[in-house]
Symmetry: C2
Subunit: 199 residues, 2 copies
């Protein structure tokens, strides 16, 4: 029972990976990269600290280009992040060896998030099971589990280097001459998992 | 970290209980009864076979009365089942010792099911965390986990005696002189967990 789990190195995707392992799945973490930055290395480092198998999946840069256009048109990153997330899940689900794909999206997330028709469509189109271990958990439950399990580094999202879609999207916007700060909401606290607690 | 888990003895509520335990929670199973039947004994028996702590929580019969009226008015049990489920969760959440309440509802369930506003309202009104371990799992994932874990007895829902709300609702309707078969859809395959596999 192998599951390919979309992974950023953050709390939510790390907690989900732990839950999948507790349910008896063999977990392989997958971090998306468009090849602009090496920020997938932070996810790799966390994956290694946690003892999970990890791979980088490169997506075509035109997906990031389209996401950047969307972000510029919307003056907001949500549509772009949603677009990348859907393409990332599809890219994993379309790999021939993949029967199960998962991510760390939560009940209280707005973006990225697959509603029920989209979740079922992903499963049907690619013949996979889509598993979201955090979907039935509220923020209190997620907090109590992550506090029990992980050593976490907190920081502003601009300063904390993470392997999420935001970093490369910001980078491409800068490259195109736009100020990402005009598009992304004022930076908020972000987290990065360093390793297990008390291990 | 103790969680009170709404329990019928079926596959979904048993799988959820197992997941909660795997996440490190101390699980106490709670089966609802209105005192009309002793069908909670089937949940108790399964709980004992699985090694979980179990209690019966009696709800006032007027809740079942109101559910029966709803079922008769709708000529369908969905509204009634939903009504009982919400009152059951509230009854557990309102016990002073309860900080976490959970159930076995699934992503693909229509009834009983709490949408996001109702889930948050339950948490806010009673100061509890509401945990649904199966919410992010599709039918394939639930099937592969239950097949791996449990010995299951299958049967028609009219014949298979279970500790769900349906049995007492049918019983009250009969007592009132109505034929439950006019209200409940034609019986479908139901399941009851007998115990762990290979133990």
């Amino acid at each position: 029972m192998k599951v390919y789990h979309l992974y950023s190195g953050g709390k939510d995707s790390s907690l989900s990976a732990w839950i999948l392992e507790r349910l008896g799945y063999e977990v392989e973490l997958v971090t998306i990269s468009f090849g602009l930055l090496k920020n997938w290395r932070y996810a790799r480092e966390t994956a290694e600290n946690l003892g999970f198998k990890h791979r980088v999946l490169y997506l075509p840069e035109d997906i990031l280009e389209k996401a950047a256009e969307t972000a510029l048109r919307d003056s907001h990153p949500n549509g772009a992040i949603q677009y990348i997330h859907e393409r990332a899940l599809e890219a994993i689900a379309s790999m021939p060896e993949v029967e199960r794909v998962s991510d760390g999206t939560r009940r209280d997330d707005r973006v990225p998030f697959l509603d029920l028709p989209k979740a079922r469509s992903l499963e049907d189109r690619f013949g996979v099971a889509y598993i979201r271990p955090l979907l039935g958990l509220g923020y209190r439950t997620i907090r109590e589990l992550t506090e029990r399990l992980f050593n976490v580094e907190m920081g502003e999202s601009e300063e904390l280097v993470k392997a999420d879609y935001e970093a490369e999207l910001r980078d491409l916007l800068k490259e195109k001459g736009f100020d990402p700060r005009a598009i992304f909401p004022k930076s908020h606290q972000q987290s990065r998992v360093l390793g297990w607690k008390n291990v």
